[in-house]
Symmetry: C2
Subunit: 204 residues, 2 copies
Amino acid sequence: GWASEGLGSSGKNRRVCHAAARLEMGSLWEEFNRLGTEMIVTKAGRDTGEDGTTEMLGVRGRILAVLSPLPCRYAFHSSSWLAAGRADPAAPGRVHFHPDSPAKGAQWMRQIVSFDKLKLTNNLLDDNGHIILNSMHRYQPRFHVVFVDPRRDSERFAHQNFKSFSFPETQFMAVTAYQNHRITQLKIASNPFAKGFRDGDPEP
Amino acid sequence: GWASEGLGSSGKNRRVCHAAARLEMGSLWEEFNRLGTEMIVTKAGRDTGEDGTTEMLGVRGRILAVLSPLPCRYAFHSSSWLAAGRADPAAPGRVHFHPDSPAKGAQWMRQIVSFDKLKLTNNLLDDNGHIILNSMHRYQPRFHVVFVDPRRDSERFAHQNFKSFSFPETQFMAVTAYQNHRITQLKIASNPFAKGFRDGDPEP
DNA sequence: CCCTTTTCACCTAGGTGGTAAGAT
DNA sequence: ATCTTACCACCTAGGTGAAAAGGG
């Protein structure tokens, strides 16, 4: 009934307003962010390795990720990124639904919510559902916890039924090839699939 | 409302009574069945490669698979299977929910419904959710299309809300090692992961 | 003797950055 | 000159039956 769909003090539905989230692998994200994170975009789509942990209970809902563009074009000169004019026109942003969606809150709590199936592409005509980005532009990942409202006129309450999270340390630059060699080295050191490019002695 | 949940002539909810299904790779299943299909069970769990196609429209529901034991123990002697006494006592049968469940009918129709994540084990203490079988016993795979009834007292109508399918050509014997060498050869010829054991010239 | 378990080489499938060639 | 693409060797991850060892 209507009474049970009351709003919390934030103007959000009570089912989502207490949702919380923390970033998994936060120290690694910070290490990348200090150097200026770069993410490869290809025509076919490449992974991102995004992780997050939700602390949501009792919500029957969806979790989805979006990448919000930051409004500037960049260039990499003498080891640093510089703003280089207005952002190129962006295609309408795509949304990536977590593959476990929809699921109940207890299910989301059971394990880390990983966005490792999310792929980035620079192909404006992509029809694989990947998220389309402009290379040499900067993005802020965000994700939304959405309560699936069973009411028939649920569109009217859409603004109450989600709660959003973003972690500044996950901002990144979309590139087709790495610009900063220190980013390349950190990727090689931290991604198991790049183990073939490591040369030093591995730690236990 | 209640009127819209009326029953078809079969005594099943109208949402499932028109569901239909056909077996994918039917001719390969028949080829195996003529020889006597065998499926490996291990302690850790092994795949089955079950495929099926549903023809279900407009149903918000689940698809799940069960393996029904046939009540006999078998032995393999001189190239054929013989009944060999009563069936060993079986643990309560487990159910395998298709990982896309729940989903709407249109989603199920979009692609082949494959049970290739279903694994078989002979470990009675298995806690990976695999289906537990007795080796040297025969089984009939079945699957059920289930309408998720939104009514509060939906348990009362459970018997109306599913429709079951089984294909006799998918019956198989659970084994820990292949008994019939012709089954081994047909597995090697038809399973891409066993390509390493093929010796003849491959067909284009 | 019959059946089960363990380990193995050999595959499929797909995620890495490197590299050189291509595009603008 | 700068950015993009296509292909590659090298990984991770995991599905095969073979073979040998183990158990009752």
